[in-house]
Amino acid sequence: MRKKLSTKLWLLMVALLTALVLAACSGGDDEESGDDTSEGDDAGITAWAWDPNFNIAALELAKEHYDKDDFNMEIIENAQDDIVQKLNTGLSSGTMKGMPNIVLIEDQRAQSFLQSYPDAFYPIGDYFNKEDFASYKLVPTSHDGKQYGLPFDTGVTGLFYRTDYLEEAGYTHDDLVDITWSKYVEIAKDVKEKTGQAMLSLDPNDLGILRVMMQTTGTWYTTEDGSIQLEGNEPLKLALENYKELMENDVVKLNSDWSQYLAAFNSGDVASVPAGNWIAPSVEAEESQAGQWRVAPTPRLDMEGAVNASNQGGSSFYVLNIDGKEKAAEFLGGTFGSNVDFYQDLVQEVGALGTYIPASEGDAYQFENEFFNNQQVVHDFSQWMEEIPQVDYGMNTYGIEDILSAEIQQYLDGKSLEDVLSDSQAQAENQFK
């Protein structure tokens, strides 16, 4: 009895292992025969993007506008952070299986991908005319003189504000047009005093507002040759002074994540939202506030050469250097790269504002938005977009910002600005040499 039982179990184990091995081997056969068909010429291509209401919808629309026979594209939704992880894992392991043909990458991250994985991306400069795009988009999307990205949406910023709160504090639209950030701080204090409302909502962990301020002068944390410039960076210094003024005068409603940020303006707790144009749908989500919002140009830093236009976010399409790359590049060139009609639909149906300049003459751009007091919001944004100063985001924006944000804590606690910047400079140089 005892012997029988253990023999039986033995057999079971052996059978299990054999099954596993067999499964593995028979799998091998499947693959060999399957390979030929899957890599054939009529195979479809894949694209990765992250927002079903925005960039994925844009891809879907582009697909509709692209009337090439037997063109087949699968659009796969992945969160942006997920795309970054999947792409890094795939590209660094050298395993290209399962990688998409087209991928959307945020402009501020693009250089780190392009430079970290040489040969992983396919230059697509020949598939469209890059002069047709807002000039500020071209630096981040190219590398070594080659154009890798096809510019997609603009992150052109505006100052969304509540007309009722600002009126109550005694300000008209004209008082907000083409102002400086120090004027903005002044207005903020006034609004707080007269209406009791905070002027804006900020997440202390997100220094996006500093970038918006800095870019109005065409400066960044790094220079074009990649060296770190924090110490003695006048625009950054000015931006930080304004930031501190805002933080210390109780005009900021602090938030700690995206949902609280949205809630701050949806529930009427802040008088303004200085942000990229992509925030508009979230502002409009609170229908009861229709007619109470308008958009003014972005405040500029109080410096020679600063303009009232800046950028926050924005992304572009890239083609991976794998089978199907020509097909993918042709698709992008034929839609996002040249189709004015497509851009009209893009504005109307998706609400996405591209960076393709010829498109802004179209009718869709003249639309008067009732939510924003019949302002021609899209038209205004597209005008501001053309003025955005060009900057090279370089490779280390996020790394430097983590160092800076630790130092900014100390700045708010009283450390001198010079020390903050020189300490950050030293740390950043050590880390990103």
């Binding site: 009895m1 927002d51 992945n78 795939g90 399962g98 809630a263 989500a285």
Partner: protein, 275 residues
């Protein structure tokens, strides 16, 4: 005195239960509100549940994701328990110097952050893909294979085996049972609660596993629940009402598994076995 202690115990447990359960209740309430109300922290049930549910079913393939997650979790749980308990038992009952050293080496494998081995592991699966696509990249098998054999469960079963009287094994041998017979006919039934605890943990780990399935699964039809939820929050204008609905649906299976398994934790059941 005893009465007071009782009251105090109930009070303590009730407070703990309330603190623990509050976010869950909040999720249930949020599921019935629209996004704007969720973000402003509304604590009153609303009327948008059906709307949220419809949107969820419309925008995502939650049925497929649930099925994938369920399939992976069940296979993982069964195999993890079997393999982990065999090894945990083996290391403790057939203890030898060599095995003790080997055990300590195996434990090392749970000490490195997964992020560090993810890329080499991915490359490994990339290589496997060429020869055995059934367990290669973008298969459900690839998503669970590295998780079914873990030092964690070997360690867990070994520690529990320490508590389990070795006399039982001896008694089994005297009764004339073979070594495998002792394991399957005495050890497994006796260690029911240990298996129940391990099942809860294994199921939960698998159900919530994020990073590895994320990189290894690429086609949308292989998506698991955590990936689906991650996608829902991805856009510039996430709908928190829909997200909360998805989260409640995603949480229920693990909560249910726990509720079914915890009934095995009945005090004193084992008291007699040892005699």
């Amino acid at each position: 005195m005893k009465q007071i202690k009782r009251v105090f115990t109930y009070l303590f447990l009730s407070v703990a239960a309330l603190v623990s359960i509050f976010p869950f209740i909040w999720m249930l309430i949020s599921m019935t509100n629209k996004s704007v109300d969720v973000t402003s922290g509304r604590l009153i049930p609303g009327t948008h549940f059906i709307e949220n549910l419809n949107k969820l079913l419309d925008q995502t393939q939650i049925g497929i994701a649930l099925w994938n997650s369920f399939l992976i979790a069940v296979i993982t749980t069964v195999l993890t328990l079997l393999i982990g308990s065999l090894a945990g038992y083996g290391f403790e009952i057939y203890r030898s110097k060599g095995k003790d050293i080997l055990f300590n080496i195996l434990i090392l494998s749970m000490m490195i952050p997964f992020a560090a081995i993810m890329i080499p592991l991915y490359r490994l699966f990339g290589q496997i893909s060429a020869d055995a696509p059934l367990i290669g990249l973008d298969t459900l098998a690839a998503a669970f294979l590295p998780t079914i054999i873990t030092a964690f469960f070997i360690f867990f079963f070994r520690q529990n085996t320490k508590m389990f009287a070795k006399e039982l094994v001896e008694a089994g041998r005297i009764d004339g049972l073979g070594e495998w017979g002792i394991f399957f006919r005495i050890y497994m039934p006796t260690m029911k609660t240990t298996y129940a605890a391990a099942a809860i943990i294994a199921f939960m780990n698998s159900w919530n596993n994020y990073l590895w399935p994320l990189v290894v699964l690429q086609s949308p039809e292989k998506q698991t629940i955590p990936l689906l939820i991650s996608n829902l929050g991805a856009g510039y204008t996430p709908d928190y009402g829909v997200i909360m609905t998805a989260i409640v649906i995603a949480t229920l299976p693990t909560a249910l598994v726990f509720f079914l398994m915890q009934r095995h934790f009945v005090a004193g059941m084992m008291g007699s076995v040892k005699g």
